[in-house]
Symmetry: C2
Subunit: 677 residues, 2 copies
């Protein structure tokens, strides 16, 4: 069984199925969906065949509008088609989407759901883009994890052929699209079993062709347009059932079962959250923790958002529910409330479920964190005599006071799961090395594994933080690590720029890439770093990674060195097994470049182990000034809570001191400002 | 007072205010909004100044996406901007709309709301396009008549400056955009009084400028995007109140008062329809008629759809209401129901109005008729023990059986209103002449006047039907005439192609442009036309318009001749007054081309009167065959209900015989198929 697992991100998992099920793939790159198109393009150039043994035609258009138009045209020619996009790219597809749906044409667009540029542009994830398409007549299927994205990609390609309704398959940009996880990928055989050749044939016979001429896509006048628009009704009535059939067939093939609405929690819950997407993972963790204290709570996960099946919704919701919180990962200013809330109200109304108090809230815009602590606050709000309505969660809204308070200290992290955080420079190889570590641990050692990488939109040259979890139990923690067992700093210069040790849990291991050896380094540390190491009783290690890399002919590339250190001291695997695995991985990677290269890398691993030193930590921080310029920042700067190197001059304008400076030092989330934190 | 009235269509009324209030107008033509841009372009080329004495810069871009981008840019430069669009054009503006709203920038886009191309393209009117923008953060203000469009255009330009929220001002494509009506146009003084110069100044000071540099439109990361997105809340909370203030100020200036939600009907209504747009006129007529029979019913008209003010909605809705029908002029396949319905459900929920049964229905897609008879059917549905839900009205849905039956014979036409229908060839001058007649009657004679023109999308060369109403009472009949006092056929060849006399009421006048004189014409008529004339006791007139036109040097242009006939026999004005007015109008139109031209046209009027003949109608239709090829169509064709010239061969495929042929003869609406008709 172990070998059927792979570790990859949702974009790659989705692209594999989309590629296998398509003949024409029209693409245009937009973050965070780009890698789906890039991989497809690469595979086509490598002549990788699809399910039918042909090589998909991958064509990059001039914009997403062109990609949608190319797909529309190819579909009318009888080809199986797909595309990938997000955000403004998806908005440009809307005109063609109406036509594709109006003409009852099967296709799947895979969306790494992303914010829309409003007061500012953002490349990060939420549901604003897909919600802007909910009126187009497309089915909308939402994945909440990498595994689900892998599975629902196939469900969507199978169901669209059955239903003749085009599908938007979406998942949270970055949180899911870029999360690397250990999953089971549908096999070629399973994919083949899901795609009904008769339906493929039916699609082909509907193609426009001079051999059997029909007219389609005409101009219609008031006499017939309305009637024509209503003729699609039977297809929408039938669609949810066909999706459930696809889920069921898939369940028989894979043992992974899904329903249109999946309920998680107490069968006799009185309070329930309704939501969709990656935040369901965090909510499930909160539910498990709170149910252990006797709370009757649950989560209703929306899988098929469109067509919305009211009876399936009502059947999935426990009859005992008295209070419901509907959480939308979008914002629609000027609306009474956000779309999922409006739909759930209507679903309750239409299924005769009166007597349920319903409140709506917004969360997670632009990849803002949603944690079990926030889910708990939402459940607590439902317990209030007068639950707050139209709330936000995850920010502190001190302008219109919409936000719920939450206790950021509430943690549901599995003690059996290793949590590691790495601070690297953008494009310095840290992320690549971490992905390789996940592969080793997930695919070779058979542990569950998760990697999430916090880029900022400045990309190359800025800080990239890797959040890795490993363990024997399934990992549902769809949020950043705040209490790590292991913190690595790959760049010494970060020490007085970011308060990275606030992420270290008590007794954690701290690995520092340092020019200074174990005897010298302590005096070079900023005083707050010294204080954290002492207070948290951290196991402190240093390595001069640059020196080791250079000594083994790797120039400035420190990633293998740092990865070896991680395996050597993190205890995620037994040390000997870990080192064996890393050498095996090196062999696999470099075999084609000859034995010498493999052995040079092996030597680097051995050299790393010899140069990795534990630092003996003194009982108290140093008091001497001047060793590190940041140790004694004048208090005048004042606005940055952690006494780091002042990111802005003390005489900067107030906004820059109070807001910009916090963003620069990585405190823009205001984690430390939220009550209870 | 009389002189403050003008007769024009909504597009022109709106364009006048938009032009007066703008400095940059970026345009791209799309039906049915094009004339707003065309007029602006023309006025700018004529150096017509705006409110501040400058000439707006009107620039045609490469697409609607470019127009929206140009507006966005000009707004950031501090200019007052507008644009006009519809349908797919509006969809292309969505990405910029998010940014304009996100940056809290005042502007107004005027939308002649139109269908979106789905199973077929359509140039006609419904709310699919504006509803596709309801999530963008724009205010949405809906006009239901030409007068309201004239007024709300100004309200929108005034309110956007107060609110800093951009406005979509929309009205029904064709039904309102192209309806010519006698209205009061806001004067320059009123416009000036509505636009607050301080707000204009505030907009200018927010411009991006090197003189006071600020940064705007940045890229934001997860740390701050969500918070930034929420900072707009106070503006949305305040907006409805600011719109009501603008309504109130406008009411003081003009005596035309509006509210965010306007209620019409019984103060103690138990059944109410909620809707927006032009169909409100037809519904008001139905309410008046049905209240006379003791029914307690009403209409809640939505003016400001976004931001949706729940408390204003609740305050406007009588407390006695037990059953509500929400009518949406859009369709969103896969949604539980359409957007206005979802919003009204939420508004009731949030205002604690439980115990109200709410059903939703769709109507009027792509300018499908909505008549008082249909409004009555909706009220009747609300009286049923189990009201139908998710219904359609206005079509007969024999596929999924969503449609409500209605009694097409139910008429609320005002007996004091003259109703005239003209059949002309597209671009033959009939529409222009009718617009001129409306001007004479509305502006000179001081009667209320309405003109609606049924084009088909084939434009030039196809039949254009003009529906004109005139009378002393206000005209709210936002639907086609089905019982005319006057029917004119400007092309003899139409007689055996369309059943035009089914629109003639008993005792109506029928004017025919005929090569054949009064003694000869009868025998040339298709037998069904003869039968209709006899059965309905029509007053039948003929004129050889081509001969008269040629005799007075007007070549083939028959419009002045036919217009004179209309005034001479329709009794809309006393005959002598009518002829005097038409001559006055000729003088006005042709004065600049010299006295000779004026007198030649006057002579044509006199010549027309001499050549206009009443036909004495025999007691029975002729039975002789062969005079007209269509009189004796073999019954084999069978599918066309009126025995006209067969539009398709008898051996055509079944679909062509049953569907296409009905569309060709103008029966595609299936008027005669709907129960009760």
């Amino acid at each position: 069984m172990q070998n059927s697992h792979v570790t990859l991100d949702a974009n790659e998992a989705v692209a594999r199925t989309a590629y296998a099920c398509s003949e024409v793939i029209a693409i245009y790159p937009i973050t965070p969906s780009s890698s789906m198109g890039e991989l497809s393009d690469q595979w086509a150039s490598e002549k990788k065949p699809n399910l039918w043994g042909t090589i998909p035609k991958v064509v990059e258009m001039q914009s997403e509008a062109g990609a949608a138009g190319a797909v529309h045209g190819a579909l009318q020619g009888g080809a199986l088609c797909t595309t990938f996009t997000a955000s403004q790219g998806l908005l440009l597809m809307i005109p063609n989407m109406y036509k594709i749906a109006g003409e009852l044409t099967p296709t799947v667009f895979h969306i790494a759901a992303r914010s829309i540029a409003a007061q500012g542009l953002s490349i990060f994830g939420d549901h604003q883009d897909v919600m802007a398409c909910r009126q187009t007549g497309w089915a909308m299927l939402c994945s909440g994890s990498v595994q689900e994205a892998a599975d629902f990609a196939l469900i969507a390609h199978a169901a669209t052929l059955e239903a003749r309704i085009p599908f938007l398959h979406f998942f949270d940009g970055f949180r899911t699209s870029h999360e690397v996880a250990r999953i089971e990928l549908p096999t070629v055989e399973q994919t083949r079993a899901m795609i009904d050749d008769e339906r493929v044939h039916a699609h082909r016979t509907r193609a426009l062709s001079p051999d059997h001429p029909v007219i389609r896509g005409t101009a219609q006048n008031p006499d017939v347009y309305f009637q024509g628009r209503e003729t699609v009704n039977p297809y929408y009535f039938a669609c949810p059932h066909l999706v459930q059939q696809a889920f069921d067939r898939f369940g028989q093939l894979t043992n992974r079962t899904y329903r249109l609405f999946d309920y998680y929690g107490a069968p006799d819950a009185d309070r329930v959250i309704v939501m969709m997407g990656s935040a369901c993972g965090a909510t499930e963790e909160a539910i498990d923790a709170l149910r252990r204290t006797g709370q009757k709570i649950g989560l209703l996960k929306v899988r098929l958002y469109r067509p919305f099946d009211v009876s399936a919704f009502a059947a999935a919701l426990p009859t005992t529910v008295r209070r419901l919180a509907v959480l939308d990962r979008t914002k629609e200013p000027g609306s009474i409330a956000e779309p999922l809330y409006l739909d759930i109200l209507a679903a309750l109304h239409e299924s005769g479920r009166s007597g349920v108090t319903v409140v709506g809230g917004r969360y997670g815009l632009s990849s803002k964190e949603f944690t079990p602590a926030m889910a708990r606050a939402v459940f607590e709000n439902l317990s209030a005599a007068q639950p707050r309505h139209h709330f936000t969660i995850g920010i502190r809204d001190d302008v219109t006071h919409t936000s719920l308070d939450y206790d950021a200290g509430f943690s549901t992290e599995d003690p059996g799961t290793v949590r590691a955080v790495f601070f690297g420079l953008g494009a310095d190889g840290t992320v690549g090395a971490n992905k390789n570590s996940i592969k080793i641990i997930g695919e070779e050692a058979g542990l569950n594994a998760q990697g999430y990488f916090v880029y900022d939109s400045k990309k190359s040259g800025s800080v990239t933080t890797s959040h890795l979890r490993f363990g024997p139990n399934p990992i549902r923690s769809t949020y950043l690590i705040t209490q790590a067992n292991f913190v690595a700093c790959h760049q010494f210069s970060f020490l007085d720029r970011f308060d990275m040790l606030h992420l270290a849990g008590p007794g954690a291991t701290f690995l520092l890439n340092s020019l200074y050896g174990p005897d010298e380094v302590w005096a070079r540390l900023p005083r707050p770093v010294q204080e954290s190491i002492i207070a948290k009783k951290l196991n402190f290690y240093v390595i001069d990674a640059l020196k080791v890399a250079a000594a083994h002919g790797m120039g400035g590339r420190i990633n293998t060195v740092m990865q070896t250190c991680f395996f050597a001291i993190s205890q995620v695997l037994p040390r000997d097994e870990a080192i064996a695995q890393i050498k095996k991985s090196i062999e696999k990677t470099y075999a084609k470049r000859g034995r010498t290269v493999v052995e040079k890398n092996w030597a680097a691993v051995d050299g790393t182990l010899q140069n990795l030193h534990r630092v003996s930590v003194p009982a108290s921080a140093m008091t001497s000034d001047g060793l590190c310029p940041s140790v004694s920042i004048p208090a005048g700067n004042g606005e940055v809570p952690f006494s780091l190197r002042p990111p802005v001059p003390a005489d900067a304008p107030e906004f820059v001191r109070r807001v910009t400076s916090l963003m620069i030092v990585g405190q823009g989330n205001g984690k430390r400002c939220i009550s209870g934190a």
